[in-house]
Point group: C2
Chain length 594, copies 2
């Protein structure tokens, strides 16, 4: 039994100054957590109880699919992370340190390397596989902007699991097991999630999905279509329009440079084109020019993890902007920053404001990487800068008049864009990443030499999956989802206690009866939080009870004289009166869902 009179629990009436989102405000105000440094939190007694319950649900679902729990240190040596490139690729997000011998260490952001090495240490045969290992352990990432309480922290508890299989079919099976385990886990946590295709990013690998919890405070944007397509916006692929064959391309009008006085923006260029060349627009039935055809060229400086830089030119339809996150994912682990005036000076071939493939000299300039939006297909016709002021090229056909080094998924995704699988238009939604499952494939095993002998005695590289759930973030997500203006409303399976007993007034008989009820409920196996504070007003006690958010509370007060106590439902707000004799049975039944 937790007695409020002697517990390390203090509630606050005011929101903490640095809190923006409800979960952050309420978890601090209700005394579940405290900040100890930017993005680093302390778990107070009630918070720790919730944390352990989330952990246990995650653990049970991992055990249910044959996961075996292990525990690695947060402190790990540099070498394995050097071997996979992550020591560098993680950039400033990695906490690095040296020991007294000046050897390099890190605080692990995840443990792919260490799991790989440990399996290599223990296993040597295909008979040892498949195996699924996991841990629930503190991870560290030096986020540039830790924010929103537990939603984005620099230390967080994570369940990270890793599967080891001898072949691709095995990996598919392991991946599917985790996918189902994740669905069950989030269902038990009470967190609706959408499984979205994800960009595998710096982790390498192939198939990758995120479990996104739709919420307005989410940092991720994802898309869903009515036909069932769902993807993180970084992972959305753009359906390419049909390309033309050589004969059809040859039949298109030849490109020609035109004077376009004053058409210094996409909008002006579109207006000008409609005035100067009405009815000639190549993509509409009416021949109207649209912003789409005005091929926009943007220049970035790519900085690679080793510090080297190179320019990157991106071309995309003029009606689209670049989405910073999609660009970030597309170029990772490199970082793209917009070209500065200084950068333009260093690359005189790139004429700021007039860049187009014609004036770009790209083919002559091997050092400049030129990537186009997937909508730029062979035979598509564009208008672009001609490399000098007030001149544009018309009828510029991709595959005939210019080519690029490849395509890039950097253009923004819009509400209504078609899903790549033909399942209809996509809707944009905000979400929070709760889990992420990856088919890593053989990247880590190759880098670290994890091989086993197959049935024929041949050495084969093991294929791996990696599966993460943010345990602390899940708590924030539940708090975000389950609260009202008065405070938290925990779902029963995560509440720090099953029942909150509130004794009000000063009558010793009331406290004696509350004590009896608390004891009887505890004897039934329920977890009891008992507000036994002797000199605190009923109003304060009720407010605290609402703030703390235990699903069921029992108020023992003035009504006792007339033979009733109140059973209150936190979420629904219902209050019913029962006799003190019945309350233990009633509450037990309610908690047990009977």
């Amino acid at each position: 039994m937790i007695r409020l009179s002697s517990s390390f629990i203090r509630t606050l009436r005011e929101d903490p100054a640095d809190a923006e989102v409800a979960s952050h405000k309420l978890l601090v105000r209700a005394g579940y957590i405290r900040r100890s440094a930017a993005g680093v939190y302390t778990w107070l007694p009630l918070g720790l109880k919730v944390l352990r319950k989330v952990e246990q649900i995650v653990r049970e679902e991992q055990d249910a699919i044959g996961g075996q729990e292990v525990l690695f240190s947060a402190l790990q040596p540099r070498e394995p992370y050097e071997a996979t490139g992550r020591w560098e690729d993680y950039g400033p997000n990695l906490f690095r340190l040296q020991d007294r011998k000046q050897d390099d260490y890190l605080l692990a952001p995840t443990h792919e390397e260490m799991f790989t090495l440990t399996v290599k240490d223990l296993f040597s045969s295909y008979k040892d596989l498949p195996t699924m290992l996991y841990q629930i352990q503190a991870k560290y990432r030096d986020e540039a902007r830790p924010r929103a309480g537990l939603l984005r922290t620099r230390e967080f508890l994570m369940k990270d699991a890793y599967s080891f299989d001898v072949d691709d079919e095995g990996l598919d099976a392991s991946y599917e097991k985790q996918r189902l385990a994740y669905q069950r886990t989030f269902e038990r946590l009470g967190l609706p999630t959408v499984i979205c295709r994800a960009d595998a990013g710096a982790m390498g690998g192939s198939r990758s999905e995120e479990f996104l919890h739709p919420t307005p405070v989410g940092e991720d944007t994802f898309v869903v279509s009515d036909g069932g397509y769902a993807a993180n916006v970084e992972a959305v692929t753009t359906p390419a329009p049909p390309a033309l064959d050589e004969a059809a391309i040859a039949a298109l009008p030849a490109m020609h440079v035109e004077d376009t006085p004053g058409a210094s923006t996409i909008a002006k260029l579109t207006d000008f084109s409609n005035q100067a060349f009405p009815g000639k627009g190549p993509t509409t039935d009416s021949g109207e020019w649209t912003r789409y055809e005005m091929l926009k060229h943007l220049v970035y400086l790519l900085t690679h993890p080793d510090g080297s830089t190179e320019p990157l030119v991106i071309a995309l339809p003029g009606d689209r902007e670049v989405d910073a996150k999609r660009l970030e994912a597309a170029v990772a682990p490199a970082i793209a920053s917009p070209f500065t005036d200084e950068d333009f000076s260093a690359h005189p071939v790139l004429k700021k404001g007039y860049i187009g493939p014609e004036g770009l000299g790209l083919e002559a300039e091997a050092g400049i990487c030129y990537l186009v939006d997937p909508r730029v297909v062979p035979g598509s016709s564009w208008v672009a800068g001609a490399g000098e002021k007030d001149k544009h090229v018309y009828d510029l056909v991709y595959g005939r008049d210019f080519t690029a080094d490849g395509t890039i998924e950097a253009a923004e995704v819009r509400d209504g864009d078609p899903a790549p699988d033909g399942s209809g238009p996509m809707r944009l939604t905000r979400g929070m990443e709760m889990g992420h499952i990856f088919q890593l494939g053989r990247t880590y095993a190759e880098a670290l030499g994890l091989k086993v002998l197959d049935e024929n005695g041949k050495s084969v590289v093991v294929t791996m999956g990696s599966y993460g759930i943010g345990v602390t973030r899940a708590i924030a997500a539940v708090a975000e989802l389950c609260h009202d203006e008065k405070g938290l409303c925990w779902p029963r399976q995560l509440a720090p206690a099953d029942v909150h007993i509130v004794a009000t007034g000063k009558d010793p008989a009331i406290f004696a009866e509350a004590e009896r009820i608390a004891g009887a409920l505890e004897a039934r196996g329920l977890e009891v939080l008992y507000d036994d504070r002797p000199k605190v007003s009923p109003g304060v006690k009720f407010k605290d009870s609402e703030l703390l958010g235990v699903p069921t509370s029992v108020v023992v007060g003035r009504g006792l004289a007339t033979g009733v106590v109140e059973v209150r439902d936190r979420a629904g707000g219902e209050i019913r009166e029962v006799s003190p004799e019945e309350v233990v049975d009633a509450v037990t039944a309610e908690v047990r869902g009977a």
Copy 2:
């Protein structure tokens, strides 16, 4: 049920190359742990099960005395540790790091500072106290010489508890509660411990005791007397002989310098004295000179945490050596290193080889700290170097002819030395520190401003205690205590499983019966480890079973044909045959201690 055929468990026949002690060898060979870096270990599935059981025992005993569990991050900011001086005092033992903003952080070696600040954050009145908080959490110390597997690591799991009281009586009561909880904890873990007075060292504070587990592999030396005195050797105080009063001192012979040709060692000086001045020795009835009276002077360079240095001269009876650990504890947080030739050059007043109080010029040289052994009391008479070659001073009386800046407990403690409390001669024993309880007092609360209002509305500084148990080390200690040449022998309460079922041979009926027994035992609530490996010889299975050390095993093999299975007791080695029908009852009873 853990099935060996598909578990992440591999045993090794050979000891790991770097292992010296049995617990290290066996925990690695049995697949409980793996090293991931110097002094950093990974917990494999069986090891983690043992770890969780130890944690749970520790947790229950903390809860039983009203401890409230919280959880702090390992990563903490510099400032609070700066305020208490520990940022510097911990020297190279502290893992320090910087974040992307170049702010300083550390990996906490313990969390006094953070608990103090959190209590300050939540509490403000004497009515809030006493409170007892604890966590079970990974600690980091950059040990110079991590060794012996889990016995001395750089990351280790620790239960650290902190008590907060308004006055000294409260602290005494909290301390006593923890002392009893520790006794119960170690009893439940099956670890005999001796409660020893301890040196409070860098933690500050007053009363301090260590729970030392006597073991030859222990790094600590402690003393016990038949009369019940027990102390860490660093904490042993030296009973001073009776001092003389001024009149008695005045009656002693005057000091005189004598030629002592060739008496360049304590032994030679003693022999010389017996030849030159027979019957004049001041401490024996016979007047024989002993090495005791030959006052030995040793010079050290003290390095303070801030990097500043100063010489330290220590005088002790010539029959004693300095004990490095006692010296270390006596000067902490400074570090003492023997004076080098260079140091002597820098301090010409200290004439190497001829140092004595006479030639020392100590009073003239305020910068040199001079400390004497506690046996050097007013009226005690000594022989010491006269500051030049082949000359010594005789009848040099402390308090008359020389004085020091104070006393120091740096001399070795010997078997047979008298206990300071008069409880008889002390015996020296090797032990391992399993727990440590401290009365911190007000040091931390003062440094960090933790005050509450007392009954009269007056602001008072809170007094604290700090209480630690090395959770991972406890596992090593149990493994060290409970093993034989064949492997580990876990006590039931810590074993990774209750029973180990071994199916031998190739007969499918045997495996079917073993499976049935394993399932039936699991249905009774027992934790079952089942060696179901199909193509492994009985010899290997028995060896693995002995190495893994589950207390009870059931062998299902050839005997099944004649209606018997074997129940084996790992520790005692007894084997009894029971029928397959009886084995589930028999094993359940054995495990439950019925």
